[in-house]
């Protein structure tokens, strides 16, 4: 095995990682467990309450905006009344029953919630399945760049006798944890990962223009992607909000809640659906329909999902995170996206000037849309995206009117003056900016948050612009920098299989070998 061969030659390891033995000698590594102090716990509780308040504000604003669009007669893909209903159940619903679905006390839970005001004993009321994910259940696996080993980082919650909980982070190598060779490798790992992350942090600081030492990096907190562990719940929420704001309607209603101690994300469960990686989900039919340009009920939602994946730059959009409905009685199907935790990556600038995401974008939906160059986003979604884009642009222009040196011609000035008050107040623009700031927030460092959000906001608007121009998400070969779009191998295999599917001949006409078999059977 690979692992064994790397133990046999310790000198080789040192050469790969570039670390001298003396440098890591003082790291005492067995299984590292970090516990939070009472002050940290108190801070966390206050912070959770703040985060929840922020999400409620966002939800309110989004609902208002959707309602306004509906009142103004614009096309809306998201039914705001339905969304409000979902939100009230997800936020305040009474738990009818629950089960742990991911093992242990910290994993994902499946809750069945009923409407908050249901009378007791009313057995007819249907309950809504909701998935509740906790930060505590988050487990990250990390590849050691020096040895290629897999390590596991786990957040645990320990309940004290008085009912309060404190957080514990355990960090251990997957597999056997014995022997001096293992210990040495783990020491190398600690050192090498630190160096690896420091290099990345320096690049981020350079691009976003803040002092590198200012970023409070928890170097044990990085997983395979350059995102801190524990930030995924917020991203999950923001992506669902962006989905609603842009009228794409591909992500089930998602929100954040807290029980006072821990932060949870709650997402409405979708019934009668299968992940695309499930062979029973008829992924092949969808692929075939895209390749051969045949109609398929899920095509519209496919482009919508691809557009969302592009907008939020999902780095985890593999087939297991895309759901396909089982066809209903009329044969209608839709695609849904889940697990947006690893989205909205940070960016760095290359020496050539190109701005690239720190992690490659991975999206099964974009990879499928790529197969048909004529596939475009439907008009309804296009119109909503256009509305959002114009509202943001107009507000920014309107704001720049006050500046002395603004070079805006009279015609534009007239148009800007006649804008509605909601656009002038910057409702949409501020909401979008605040959502991004929520995702990119660096705790306790408002200047850095602002620096990152400003750049990310303009990059985001650039992506929206591209979608409006082409009606499609960015494409792997042309629009992404080399290596910054990771094609999903298993999907590529299936696409190849679909393209090679031979044309089905009528055996009776051609005298193909099938005839003989038929004869023998008789």
């Amino acid at each position: 095995m690979k692992r064994e061969s790397s133990i046999k030659d310790p000198a080789k390891e040192d050469r790969i990682s570039g670390i001298q033995e003396a440098e890591y000698e003082d790291v005492d590594f067995g299984e590292v467990t970090l516990e939070e102090t009472p002050e940290q716990a108190e801070y966390r509780r206050i912070r959770n309450a703040e985060l929840i308040k922020a999400t409620h504000d966002f939800d309110q604003k989004i609902s208002d905006l959707l309602e306004r669009r509906w009142m103004e007669g614009q096309s809306v893909s998201v039914d705001y009344a339905e969304r409000l209903q979902d939100l009230s159940i997800v936020n305040e619903g009474e738990i009818n029953s629950l089960e742990y679905i991911n093992g242990g006390a910290n994993g994902t839970r499946l809750l069945f919630l009923t409407t908050p005001n249901t009378k007791k004993g009313d057995t007819k009321t249907a309950s809504m399945p909701v998935f509740e994910k906790s930060f505590g259940g988050e487990k990250t696996q990390i590849i050691d760049p020096a040895t290629g080993d897999l390590l596991t980082l786990r957040n645990n919650w320990v309940t004290q006798p008085d009912g309060t909980k404190y957080r514990q982070t355990t960090y251990a190598r997957s597999g056997d944890n014995e022997g001096p060779a293992t210990l040495k490798r783990e020491k190398i790992f600690f050192k090498s990962r630190e160096m690896f992350e420091e290099a990345y942090q320096a690049n981020f600081a350079k691009y976003y223009a803040y002092p590198p030492e200012q970023y409070p990096v928890d170097k044990t907190g990085f997983g395979l992607r350059h995102l801190e562990v524990g930030k995924t719940l917020k991203r999950e929420y923001v992506c669902a909000a962006i989905d609603a704001l842009f009228g794409l309607h591909t992500v089930p209603t998602t929100t954040l809640i807290t029980d006072g101690e821990e932060l949870y994300s709650r997402q409405k469960g979708i019934l009668k659906t299968q992940v695309l990686s499930d062979p029973e989900a008829a992924t092949g039919q969808l692929i075939g329909a895209v390749i051969h340009k045949e109609p398929h009920p899920a095509k519209q939602s496919l482009v919508r999902l691809a557009v969302l994946h592009d907008l939020v730059e999902n780095t985890d959009g593999h087939l297991g995170n895309i759901l396909l409905d089982k066809p209903d009685k009329k044969g209608y199907q839709e695609l849904h996206g889940i697990d947006f935790g690893y989205s909205l990556p940070l960016h760095t600038q290359l020496k050539t000037g190109e701005i690239v995401s720190s992690d490659p974008i991975k999206s099964g939906a974009i990879q499928l849309v790529e197969l048909d160059p004529d596939l475009r986003l439907d008009n309804e979604a296009m119109n909503t995206i256009k509305t959002v884009y114009e509202e943001v642009k107009d507000y920014l222009l309107f704001k720049s009117l006050d500046k002395v040196d603004s070079k805006i011609d009279d015609k534009t000035r007239q148009r800007l003056a006649s804008l509605s008050d909601t656009v002038k107040s910057g409702e949409t623009a501020k909401l979008l900016y605040e959502l991004l700031a929520f995702a990119f927030e660096v705790e306790g460092k408002p200047e850095i948050t602002r620096a990152i959000t400003k750049k990310e906001f303009s990059l985001f608007m650039g992506r929206v612009e591209h979608i409006l121009e082409t009606g499609r998400p960015r494409m792997p070969k042309t629009d992404f920098y080399h290596g910054k779009f990771a094609r999903i191998g298993e999907l590529q295999e299936q696409i190849l299989g679909e393209q090679k599917t031979p044309i089905q001949y009528n055996l009776a006409d051609t005298g193909a070998p099938g005839d003989e078999i038929h004869f023998l059977d008789e």
Binding site: G103, P129, T273, V275, L319, G489, Q494
Partner: protein, 83 residues
């Protein structure tokens, strides 16, 4: 690690677990999928699965395959490790 066991569950229409299939590591280091539904056996041995580092892993890869399965577990693809 010796004798790792994973459990895969199919879902009913209410998203509750309806069945349990075990996936184990065989002695030769490959993954034993004989308890899994046929469609998964065929698909995974033929097409493989994309791992997080975007390489295709197959049941014969053993531990790497199990880790990939665990990484891809979510609310709609229930797979968990028995400890």
């Amino acid at each position: 690690m010796a004798n790792r066991t994973l459990i895969y569950s199919e879902l009913d229409d209410n998203l509750r677990e309806a069945s349990a299939h075990t996936i184990t590591l065989a002695e030769d280091g490959s993954v034993d999928l004989s308890q899994m539904p046929k469609r998964f056996q065929e698909s995974w041995t033929r097409h493989g699965l994309s791992s997080d580092t975007n390489q295709l892993v197959f049941p014969k890869d053993g531990d790497a395959f199990l880790n990939t399965l665990l990484q891809r577990a979510n609310a709609y693809f229930r797979i968990k490790e028995v400890e």
